[in-house]
Symmetry: C14
Subunit: 96 residues, 14 copies
């Protein structure tokens, strides 16, 4: 396998994984946030007086859940713009 093929394959799987990691990795957080928001609304309907506590707990929870979605987005961005394998491959291709 020559250097061009090698560089191309690294580009290909980086694109594929960037898409899959974000596309599928945000599915879980989205559903989890939907469940959390749904419960918050139900809780508000049941106990409107506790709206301050409920809202605060909801926001902390959403932040925790969103963090897992952000892990996925970060990995996608790393693969697209700060990919260590790609950088090394490009250096070698240029230096060839």
């Amino acid at each position: 396998m020559d250097m061009i093929s090698s560089t191309t394959f690294i580009a290909l799987v980086s694109i594929i994984m960037a898409g899959i990691t974000t596309g599928f990795g945000t599915m879980g957080p989205a559903l989890a946030e939907g469940k959390a928001v749904s419960s918050a609304l139900m809780a508000l309907a049941q106990q409107p007086d506790a709206s301050a506590t409920i809202t605060r707990t909801l926001f902390v929870g959403l932040a925790m859940i969103e963090s897992t979605a952000i892990y996925c987005f970060v990995v996608s961005m790393i693969l697209l713009y700060a990919n260590p394998f790609w950088n090394l491959a490009i250096e070698q291709l240029v230096g060839k």
Copy 2:
């Protein structure tokens, strides 16, 4: 693998991942928003007096969930119009 094949394969997987990332990545957010809206409506029916709090919480929640759908859409747009691997491949093809 010559440069044309290399460029073509990068175009192919970019198209494929742009479609998959948006097509499947919006499934989770859509279902989550449906669940959130559904609960908001149930909460409104149960406690109409708290409609202000419920609506506000719903909008914050929908914004959080929509953000994961937008991550997917952004990755798709990056792959179609700001693809770093494609740009580099085109530069090399033109400069060849």
Copy 3:
């Protein structure tokens, strides 16, 4: 791989992804809208007096959910009629 094959493969995956993105990507929004409409009807049956608030919240929610379906449809249309990879491939084929 010659230019004709390259152009053909780009056309093929564009067609495939246009179909898949719309065909599968509208499944989530459709189910989510069904859930939202279903809850709205239940809420109306339970609290007919709040029909104004319920209807308004439903429409906002449906708009949010429909937006994810539209992301998918937009990506499909881009792939069919404003595909940057295809445009570049055609230019090169014509200019060959």
Copy 4:
């Protein structure tokens, strides 16, 4: 790959995606409409006096859901009768 193969493959995937987009893409809307109609009937049984509001909300909801089924049908029809890739391939085949 010669021009005839190229044209044939475009025809093949157009047929395949036309079938899959409609065949699978109408599954979600159908189930969503079934859920919406089902809830409307339950709501009518629970609150017959609100039949006007319920029916109106149901029709708006069904229209929204049906729109996603129509996106799929439209993409299928585009692929069969207004396929830009096919048109270009045929022009080149004729002009060959």
Copy 5:
């Protein structure tokens, strides 16, 4: 790929997609209609006096759901008897 193979492949995928589109595409509508009829019967048992409204809403809903099944059947029939790609292929085969 010669013309006979090309024509044959178009026939093959047309047969396959005609079967799949109808065979799988009617699954969703069938289940949705079953759900709608089921709810109508439950609603009738709960509120026999509203049988006129219930029956009317049921029929409108069944018509909407059946429409998605008919989209699938129409696409199958188009693929079998009004297939634009097949017609063109046959013309070329005859004119060869």
Copy 6:
């Protein structure tokens, strides 16, 4: 690919799709009818006085659902006994 292979492949996929279309396509209608009958029996147990309305609604509903099963059976029969691609292939084989 010679004419005999071509004819054979058309026969093969026709047999395969005839089986799959009926075998899987009747699964949805069967389950839907089971759900409808089940609900009708529950409705009868709950409201025996409305047996006339319930039975009538059940039969209309079963007819609608059965129609989707019949679409599948019709497509299977068309593929086995009125297959336009097969007829054309046989004509060419005989006329060869």
Copy 7:
């Protein structure tokens, strides 16, 4: 592909589809009948006085559901004993 291979492949897929069509196609009807019988028994326990109406409705429903199982069995039998493609292939093999 010679005539013997052609005939063999038609026999092979006929056997495969005969098995699959019956083996999987009876799964849906069986589950649906189980659900219908189950509901009938529950209805009898709840309203023993309506046993005549319940039993009659059950039998009509079972007949409808069984019809879809019979479609599958009929297609299997056609593929094994009245297969039009096989008959034609055998005629040609004998007449060869």
Copy 8:
């Protein structure tokens, strides 16, 4: 493909389909019978006085469900012992 291969392949798929048709085809009926028996026992616990009607309805229902399991078993036995394709292949092999 010579006659021995042809005969062997027919034997192979006959064995495979005989196993699959019985192995998977009895899954649905078994679950359906489990559901029916389960409901009968619940009904007996709820209404012991109606045990005659319940038992009779259960037996009729089990007979209907068992019939679908028997279709599968019959197809398996036909494939093993009365396989028309195998008989013809053996005749030709012997007569060769």
Copy 9:
């Protein structure tokens, strides 16, 4: 394909199908019996006086369900010890 290969392949698929038919085919009956026994125990807890009727119905039901598991076991044993295709293949191998 020579006779030894042919005989070997028949042995291989016989072993595979014997395992699959029993291994997967007993899954449905086991779950169904678990459901039936579970309901019987619940019924006994609810109506201890009807224990005679419940036990009798349970045993009849278990016998019916077990029959489908036995169909699978019988097919496995036939494939291992009374396989008609194997017997014929061995006869030919010995007689060779």
Copy 10:
């Protein structure tokens, strides 16, 4: 395919099926026994006086369910230690 390969393949699939038949075939019985024991415990909590009848019915039921697990284990042991195809293959290999 020579005799050594033939013998090896028979050994391979025997090992594979022995593992799969036991590994997957005990899944159903295990879940079914879990369900039965679970119901027995619930029944005991609800009706401690009927503990004799409940325990007896539970043991009969567990014996029936365990029988299906034993079918799977028996088939695995047959494949490992009393495999008719293996015995015949070894005889021929030794006798060669």
Copy 11:
């Protein structure tokens, strides 16, 4: 296939099946025991006086369920340390 390959393949599938049989085969028993323990705890909470009977029944049930997990573990150990096919292959390799 020479003797070394033959021996290697037997080792490979033995390792694979040892892992799969234990890895997947303990999934069912684990879930079933979780369900049984869960019900026992619920039963204890509902009827603390019957703790002796409940605990005894739970232990008998867990023993029955654990037995299926042990079948899987036994088959894995047989494949690793008392594999009849491996022993014979090694004997032949050594005796070669």
Copy 12:
């Protein structure tokens, strides 16, 4: 296949199965323990006085369930550090 390949393949599948057996095999026990702990907490909330019995039963149950997870971990460790097939292969490679 030479000895090095043979040894390599044994190493490869040992690594693969060690990962799969632990990675998937702990899924069932984890979920089962989650269910058991969940029920224990519910039971404690319902009957705090029986906390001694509940805790004791929970620990016995968790130990039983954990045992299945440990079976999987043991098989993984055997495959990595006490693999009989690997030891024999290394001996032969060294002794070669």
Copy 13:
């Protein structure tokens, strides 16, 4: 396989596994956190006075669940930036 291919393949699977481990591995924690937050909100609505205990327990639980998401993220980062196999491969490639 030369050293460049070897290095490339290690880069490829590192990228793939980095994406999959984070993309799929955060799905479970996200859903679990959604469930935990959802229950906390419900608990707050039911017992506002215990908000201190509930919030504290929720945070401990979220920390435990988040730890499993962090395991996945850590493995992804190790594969991208501290991959022992890659480091060794690069050393050998440079030292070559």
Copy 14:
């Protein structure tokens, strides 16, 4: 297969299994912990006075469940940093 390929393949599957074992193996524990925490919160809401016992039981349970996640993480770390097969392969490569 030469030594370099052999070493590379061991590195590849070690990376793959390290990712899969952690990525999928933490899914079960995460969901189980989510369920346990969720139940603890519900139990706290229902019986705030038993918070000490509930919290203690929850922590013991979480520790048990976390142990299965740690098994997976340990296996991943072993595969990356203490892999016996890799160490031996490197020794041979260096000693070559």
